[in-house]
């Protein structure tokens, strides 16, 4: 199937660009698997593993990959298994540091009852090969 996503042009990327909202149902299996992954039986925010902010970006753009340089997460209400979660995501910022380009994505998740669940803000380095060059 042809990839119809736009190729990222960092210079042209507009801060504030919003991505189409999307939704998914959080299942008990997702919650259990997330808790297994983080080795924490009381972990309350499996939404973290869904990487919803960059997921929205990746549905719109294709690029050479990225590395998570910084991530902020704000808790409002733990999501409940069985509920449909709707995600709103956008480009919050972009910047250049030491010759490398970064984009900042942000997303909020809300459940089907209108409960605000969380907000995530991610700074992604758009030259993923830098990781191997520096750390091997």
């Amino acid at each position: 199937m042809e990839d119809t996503r736009k190729l990222l042009d960092w210079e042209a990327l507009a801060i504030g660009e919003s991505f189409p909202s999307f939704s998914y149902v959080l299942t008990q299996e997702m919650l259990d698997e997330y808790r297994k992954g983080v080795m924490d039986t009381e972990a309350a925010f499996p939404t973290i593993a869904h990487k919803v902010d960059v997921m929205a970006y990746n549905r719109a753009y294709r690029d050479a990959g990225s590395v998570n340089a910084r991530c902020a997460f704000r808790c409002y209400n733990p999501p409940l298994a069985g509920k449909r979660i709707t995600v709103h995501a956008w480009i919050a910022d972009k910047y250049r540091r030491r010759g490398k380009t970064y984009i900042v994505t942000e997303a909020v998740s809300v459940d089907e009852d209108g409960r605000l669940l969380d907000r995530v803000i991610t700074h992604e380095l758009k030259q993923p090969g830098e990781v191997g060059k520096k750390w091997g």
Binding site: K36, V38, M39, F45, P46, A49, F73, N77, G132
Partner: protein, 150 residues
């Protein structure tokens, strides 16, 4: 479970949290959202191709989750899961086989209208003593859960 009244003071240390990273844990984390394809986190060849690393690495969001756990245990789930925040910078890759210790110290207690915002600065260190991440977090503690002022 109720939330106890307790004081928070600058200089208080947060009990450390230790995590032994395994590929199985990374796979569970990545698979929990339904992603099944190979990625730099789950497949060595993809990691070599995309990152240029010698093997897979853990997503920074796993360290983010551990930072949340560190502070949730400190403040209590009832409080932290409804008013907590963490902001983490990832400095070095975390790989399968690493043992990472998350620590924190209260650096500021700021009075707000209905309580106090307790701010913690923290770090994550691997078994070689290398810092893999640093960050801050906070939680708003309602006035009713703070000891009376003297």
């Amino acid at each position: 479970m109720g939330v106890a009244v307790r004081a928070f003071n600058v200089g208080d240390t947060v009990p450390p949290l230790v995590k032994a990273m395994t590929q199985e844990a990374i796979n569970a984390f990545e698979g929990s959202s339904g992603r099944t394809g190979p990625s730099q986190f789950t497949d060595e060849e993809t990691a070599r191709h995309t990152l240029g690393t010698r093997g897979t690495v853990a997503s920074g969001r796993m360290s983010l989750s551990f930072a949340l756990e560190l502070l949730r245990r400190y403040f209590g789930a009832d409080l932290f899961n409804r008013s907590g925040m963490v902001d983490v910078r990832f400095l070095r890759p975390v790989r399968p086989g690493d043992v990472v210790t998350f620590t924190g110290t209260v650096t500021r207690v700021a009075e707000e209208a209905n309580g106090s915002r307790v701010i913690v600065e923290g770090a994550a260190t691997n078994q070689r003593g290398e810092t893999t991440a640093v960050g801050t977090g906070h939680c708003v503690v309602p006035r009713g859960l703070l000891p009376p002022e003297e």
